[in-house]
Amino acid sequence: MVTEAVYIILPVYNESPVVLQQVVDELLERDYKLIVVDDGSSERIDKVLRGKAVTLLRHPVNLGQGAALQTGFEYARQLQARYVVTFDADGQHTPDSIEKLLEPILKGSADIVLGSRFLPGASHNAPMFRRLLFRLAHLVNAMLVRLPVSDSHNGLRALNAKALASICLTENRMAHATEILLQIKSNRLRYAEVPVQIRYSSYARKKGQSAADSIKVFFDLVLHKLFE
């Protein structure tokens, strides 16, 4: 059990109020501290969160998930958070995964823990085409990053204070997932992977990335490598 506060960073962009409310309630039930980063949604989400014990940060315009996470990280740093978890707001993650995710950090064996859909013990009901995309992303990552992780584009991650202090995302959009891996490597953070459950609802599937998006991510990555 964790005795200290665990901060959950929840990047939100044009999420359905029903799903968002459910995700937030599930997390609050477990006594986590919630930092919701609204990435410039077209409709304000204050109403959905009214009366709930959450911190709401709001980008004036849409910048991308990477930017939203970084805003959350910087806020958590100001709070001197020791345990931070990133969580997707589309309902694909289960709050029960968080305890498992924190275990290696609490034991002191890792600075950052990545959730994985593909380790033994994990489960996910991703459709065939999406699985193919994951495979492709995995290959690209293996080439560009050379960090042996099984699932690079998983939004579930846990960080301790050290990882929080050293990770600084500059990729505003989805290429941030790879950027995190690059920074794990360059900052020599100890990392671990933990199998997690992912439930793809039709809603999460619709909100998720398409094949065209992955091409964009690929170009962002190549350019990141070129310029950084």
């Binding site: 911190t55 940060l57 709001r58 980008h59 004036p60 315009v61 910048l63 930017a67 970084q70 805003t71 910087e74 806020y75 100001q78 709070l79 500059t170 505003n172 350019l223 310029f227």
Partner: protein, 111 residues
């Protein structure tokens, strides 16, 4: 002088004037661009020169050589512009993030 030569010379001249006016304080860049424009003048006035150059480099036609070089320059400019855009985007993100965090941190400071 043919019609196309006049058009090209006028355009090149305009580019030269524009560069000098815009980049007043950046001597290195003015020098570089002036050299480019001047070589443009020479090649427009003596188009046969490109053929001599092309043959020296193993390219069949002078126009092809010019085309290859323009393509390279084009890509160079695109990459330059892209880096500039990335930098701007990062700057914008930092400003907006600061703005976003300011309100909340003020709340934190006054308990």
């Amino acid at each position: 002088m043919t019609g196309i030569q006049i058009v090209l010379i006028v355009l090149l001249f305009m580019i030269l004037v524009y560069t000098i006016v815009r980049l007043r304080n950046r001597k290195m860049e003015i020098l570089l661009l002036s050299a480019l424009v001047l070589s443009g003048f020479v090649l427009v006035l003596f188009p046969d020169l490109t053929i001599v150059l092309a043959h020296k480099l193993g390219v069949g036609r002078g126009t092809d050589l010019v085309f290859y070089i323009s393509t390279l320059l084009f890509w160079f400019v695109i990459l330059k512009l892209y880096t500039r855009i990335r930098k701007l985007e990062q700057l914008l993100t930092q400003v907006l993030r600061k703005e976003t965090l300011k309100e909340e941190s003020e709340k934190l400071r006054q308990p």
